[in-house]
């Protein structure tokens, strides 16, 4: 089964972002979206997440699905600690101990154990971004929307997170829609890579990567060639 967006229309004032735009996402796969700044990637995620209404078009396959979202900005509650921000989205039906267990697990996943009781104002930029990642992962969902989740993180942390993420993903095979500007990230994580044009958005290229995630290496010729193609599509 697939998630389908059909005949999407969206405009802000005079700027037309989507004009009769269609795209489909295979369930249980990671789809990476690349595209110029300001083209409409965040807008698409917001429409998929039902945060903003489209002007026209249909979404299919999203009903009844639980979605989590790593927003482009961390969007943390300033008056809640790291732990509090993550617990905030957890189901109240869980026992407090269980909530605590889940929270702790994802805090250590993003390597913030020592900062669990810090308020956002006292965290560095990358640390806030990590809280936002932990929150999205802690929320039990069928689909994850990610808007540049790894920005502002150092390379080591980035690689660790990519590894952890692919490990988690192997287990539950959630549907992931992953917006990024980093071609390497897309190559390491995506089952499918889509490149968007400037607004009004059109799909410039769409590539599938046959190699299983756990076997990929950025040094392999296959990925190197793919990278060149993608960079060309991005006009870089």
């Amino acid at each position: 089964m697939t998630l389908e967006v059909k005949g999407l229309h969206k405009r802000y004032g005079e700027v037309e972002i989507f004009r009769d735009f269609s795209i489909s996402f295979t369930e249980g796969m990671i789809t990476c979206i690349l595209g110029p700044s300001g083209c409409g990637k965040t807008t698409l995620l917001n429409i998929l997440g039902k945060i903003i209404p489209p002007d026209g078009g249909t979404l299919a396959g999203f009903d009844g699905k639980i979605v989590s979202y790593i927003f482009q900005e961390p969007r943390l509650l300033p008056w809640k600690s790291v732990r509090g921000n993550i617990e905030f989205v957890l189901d109240r039906n869980l026992l407090p101990e269980e909530r605590k267990k889940i929270t702790d697990r994802f805090i250590s996943l993003v390597e913030l154990e020592d900062f669990a009781d810090y308020y956002p104002a006292k965290l560095s930029g990358g640390m806030r971004q990590r809280v936002s990642i932990a929150r999205a992962f802690a929320y039990p969902s069928d689909i994850i929307l990610m808007d540049e989740p790894l920005k502002g993180l150092d390379i080591k942390l980035k690689l660790n997170l990519i590894q952890t993420f692919s490990r988690i993903w192997q287990e539950d095979r959630r549907t992931v829609i992953f917006v990024t500007h980093d071609v390497d990230e897309a190559l390491l994580l995506g089952n499918e890579i889509v490149v968007f044009s400037r607004a009004p958005v059109e799909i410039v290229t769409q590539k599938q990567i046959g190699v299983p995630i756990e076997e990929r290496s950025l040094n392999s010729d296959y990925l190197k060639n793919l990278e060149k193609e993608l960079l060309r599509a991005l006009g870089g």
Binding site: G49, I51, I66, V67, S68, Y69, F71, E73, R75, L77, P78, W79, K80, F88, V89, R92, Y119, P120, A121, K122, R135, Y139
Partner: protein
């Protein structure tokens, strides 16, 4: 015993001294204890009030009234304000009610109030009419300035509405609530005393003030005023103290 001041407290003290000096100046200028008695004489009168055996019951009753009025208005105002801030229809519905409550002169409703209520509760009622619209407006305006992205985030993660209110809106509008509470308490305290002047309950600062005024004991009127100001200052301190306790998350 050692008394130490922070420099801020020092500045506050200077401010109090300036008030006293201005007062002394005017009292010398008018040179009539019926227009403005001197600060010394008035402070003496104030001290005398303290030892009066009706002092505690009078002050206590008035404080009790104002706390009752405050607490009721605070919670009603918070509720109504949140509802109005979240839902534009509630806002549209409440607006005429608020404007009416806020601008109906006391003189127009005092009789109704006296008929429904006892003289002791009329001041509470009047204070509520003063404080409620206030807190309500402050809260609903505060809610309109809450970061919508955070709200979208919370709604996205299907956090229950009650928790969105409790854990997102209320902390976000805390500065508005504090500001509203501080103003409301100040103005409500005045309204309580005015109400006591108008309804003459058996015990109350306003009752004694009015009596003193009728009997032309201007120093007693001002002595009660000082007591009222000091108590009000105490309330303010409590509110600012809770502000510090409640807003610990700022950088």
């Amino acid at each position: 015993m050692k008394i130490s001041f922070t420099s801020r407290q020092y500045v506050s003290l200077v401010s109090v001294i300036i008030i006293l000096v201005t007062w002394k100046f005017f009292s010398l200028y008018f040179n009539s204890e019926f227009v403005l008695p001197s600060p010394e004489k008035t402070l003496l009168t104030t001290l005398k009030l303290f030892v009066d055996d009706r002092f505690l019951v009078t002050v206590g009753t008035t404080i009790l009234r104002s706390l009752t009025g405050f607490i009721v208005s605070f919670f009603l105002g918070l509720l109504a304000g949140i509802a109005a801030g979240v839902n534009p229809y509630v806002d549209a519905f409440l607006r005429p009610v608020l404007v009416t409550i806020r601008s109906v002169p006391i003189i127009a409703i005092i009789l109704l109030a006296l008929i429904w209520l006892t003289p002791g509760t009329v001041p509470v009622f009047i204070a509520m009419l003063t404080m409620f619209p206030f807190i309500c407006t402050n809260v609903s305006d505060g809610i309109k300035s809450v970061d919508r992205d955070l709200v979208k985030m919370a709604k996205f993660y299907r956090v229950e509405n009650a928790r969105i209110v409790k854990e997102l809106y209320i902390p976000a509008i805390m500065p508005f609530i504090i500001s509203g509470a501080s103003s409301a308490m100040g103005i409500g305290w005045r309204a309580i005393i005015t109400g006591e002047v108008l309804s003459h309950p058996r015990y109350g600062i306003g009752t004694l003030m009015q009596n003193a005024q009728t009997f032309l004991n201007v120093d007693v009127v001002i002595a009660w005023t000082i007591i009222a100001v000091v108590i009000s200052y105490g309330f303010e301190k409590v509110i600012r103290w809770s502000e510090r306790k409640l807003i610990i998350w700022r950088a």
